[in-house]
């Protein structure tokens, strides 16, 4: 984060005239003296309380729940890692790994489509004169629509008999391509991934547009003057400078796709039809917690939450710190 306060005129003047006074760490943005404790508390406490009670406390409780045995809603005593063992063993373990694989496919497929196209659109739009605003708006609109709406809209459009997609294919003579898109176990997951990418594409486009706007155009122009082709100038000059933005897109896509639920729920139901071929961790977690006849449901669902949390949060933190280092090297 940029600390612009360091650059404020007051700071500059102080720095030039004499070494800045050491004993006044409270001077940020030149706000003068620090208000008394109770005033600071009035400002900070409401947010702190709300966030702690409804976001942080439940996550720690989930950790605690996961270490106990359960009979319905009654805790029966510490069982150590028993709930975790249940997750990875037997038929549940098979479901877990299958769902995890689908999440990875979601992430990889969405990344591939949305990052490539999002970047291409951002770069091409830089040059576009006519209709730039309109095009950007068009790409971003699907991103604002609820995933539930996107899911139902696409399942109507992909319906084998009444759907618009197959109607278009038949109209242009591609009858052979008219498929039961969401009903075929082999096609359902790729179809979902494409719908997901359709919804998300505007987001990387916006991030890349913002990142490109922050790059001085002189770099690429200098390369062009030196005789590099447009493609080479982009590949060797602009693209490396976009690595931080690509990193941000990757991390956010990762977090989003590891927790995907709404879209799959709307299109394929809570079981990930057909035959679990589109089941994902989010759905498995939901079913384990709220649609599970096992009296130990709470412990098992909490164990799954802990595993997912550690995995998603751990990878995002690691990726972000690698990114920071990359960025530091670029400067």
């Amino acid at each position: 984060m940029v600390r612009t306060d360091r650059l404020s005129p007051a700071g500059l003047r102080a720095g030039r005239a004499a070494p800045p006074p050491r004993r006044r760490p409270a001077r940020r943005g030149g706000a003068g003296h620090r208000p008394p404790w109770w005033v600071l508390a009035v400002f900070v406490l409401p947010a702190l309380a709300l966030y702690t009670v409804f976001i942080v406390y439940p996550l720690f409780s989930a950790l605690q729940y996961s270490l106990f045995g359960w009979q319905g809603t009654r805790q029966t005593g510490l069982v150590g890692l028993e709930n975790f063992r249940h997750l990875f063993g037997g038929i549940y373990g098979e479901r877990l790994w299958r769902a995890f694989g689908h999440n990875l496919a979601f992430f990889a497929g969405t990344m591939l489509v949305q990052t490539t196209l999002g970047l291409a659109f951002a770069v091409l739009l830089r040059r576009a004169r006519a209709g730039r605003r309109f095009l950007q708006t068009a790409y971003v609109l699907p991103h604002l629509v609820s995933p539930i709406v996107v899911g139902y809209l696409w399942s109507l459009m992909l319906s084998p008999q009444f759907g618009a997609v197959n109607a278009v294919l038949r109209a242009v003579g591609l009858d052979a391509l008219a498929q039961p898109w969401t009903g075929d176990p082999a096609l359902a997951l790729p179809t979902l991934i494409l719908v997901n990418a359709w919804q998300w594409i505007g987001f990387p486009m916006l991030l890349f547009t913002a990142a490109l706007a922050g790059l001085p155009p002189e770099y690429e122009e200098a390369a062009r003057v030196d005789g590099a082709s447009a493609w080479r100038a982009f590949w060797h000059v602009t693209l490396p400078l976009l690595v931080p933005a690509i990193g941000v897109v990757s991390v956010l896509t990762f977090v989003g796709n590891m927790n995907v639920l709404d879209l799959v729920y709307a299109m394929q139901g809570s079981q990930g039809a057909p035959g679990g071929s589109t089941d994902v961790l989010g759905l498995l977690f939901y079913r384990t917690a709220f649609n599970n006849p096992d009296p130990g449901a709470i412990g098992q669902a909490s164990a799954l939450a802990v595993v997912m949390f550690v995995f998603v949060f751990g990878i995002s933190i690691a990726a972000t710190s690698v990114l920071r280092r990359w960025e530091a090297r670029l400067r």
């Binding site: 706000a31 900070v44 971003v140 991030l207 709307a266």
Partner: protein
């Protein structure tokens, strides 16, 4: 502009037909994808105005005579009016509450350093990367204990809390950028801390407040998971859960479903078209900082 003109000369000489062709290809790609992005949304709007029989005969046609009856039926018969009211109440209240507490905290954390302030900021910002849905089981039992299960106020509280990390993130950065002299001048005039905040600082961060609120509005309006778990009574459903209830009941009635989808989507599209800048700022708040 001038830099562009000075290099355009030699460059233009070198690229000829190939570049022109590239330009055409780029335009085809850009406008072609715009059609892909918009067509489903246009189809949704058009189909919501067509009678059921026509939809079944031809999913692609235009309405012969626009039929607004679908909306009237979706609004009353299928309870979309009620879902809409619930969504408006929950989203607006949660956005206001979440932004209010965020702006207070961001002011203290952005303008002052005090023991623990750095740690506090990290603690609040950690929420940006936390998948909060994973805490749903304890939230469920917490709400059960507090009598907030099946209540719209319960949703408001979780939603407001979920907005804190993003609100603090954007607003702290904004408060830091405000010039130093302002506070001093106000103090010399005898303003206390609360007056300084309310009458001087708050009006200055209005653009950032708009960004934060719009961004939250979109997130919360679209949320499906929390009401799916926390709300049981159909009279208290918000639009996304109402849609799933509707889909299982009226699944075969496409025209009504299209109307329901438009009702759910329209407020967001209008907001976006009215305040494109702020929405885009919110979406891209993570880069270039």
């Amino acid at each position: 502009m001038s830099a562009e003109a000075s290099v355009a000369g030699p460059r233009r000489a070198r690229r000829g037909a190939g570049a022109a062709l590239g330009g055409v290809a780029a335009r085809v790609l850009l406008w072609g994808y715009a059609a892909v992005a918009l067509a489903p949304l246009v189809l949704m709007a058009v189909s919501s105005l067509r009678p059921e029989a026509e939809l079944r005969a031809d999913p692609l046609g235009l309405p012969t005579i626009p039929e607004f009856g679908n909306y009237a039926r979706a609004w009353t018969e299928a309870d979309f009016g009620g879902y809409f009211a619930n969504s408006v109440f929950v989203t607006v209240t949660a956005v206001l509450l979440g932004t209010a507490v965020s702006v207070l905290a961001a002011y203290a954390l952005g303008r002052y350093t005090f023991p623990g302030s750095g740690l506090l900021l990290i603690y609040l910002l950690a929420g940006l990367m936390i998948p909060i849905r994973l805490g749903i089981v304890p939230v469920f039992y917490l709400f059960d204990m507090l009598g907030l299960l099946d209540s719209l106020w319960g949703l408001v509280l979780v939603y407001a809390a979920s907005g804190v990390p993003f609100g603090v993130f954007v607003l702290t950065a904004f408060f830091r950028q405000l010039p130093a002299g302002l506070a001093e001048a106000a103090r010399i005039d005898g303003a206390g801390e609360f007056r300084l905040f309310g009458q001087i600082m708050l009006p200055l961060v209005r653009p950032a407040l708009a960004t934060v609120m719009l961004f939250q509005f979109i997130q919360l309006w679209n949320d499906f998971f929390f009401p799916l778990v926390l709300i049981r009574d159909q009279d208290r459903y918000t639009l996304p859960v109402g849609l799933t209830a509707f889909f299982t009941e009226y699944g075969l009635n496409q025209s009504l479903l299209y109307a329901g989808l438009v009702i759910t989507t329209l407020p967001l599209v209008l907001l976006f078209l009215l305040a494109t800048r702020q929405v885009v700022d919110g979406l891209t708040a993570g880069v270039n900082r």
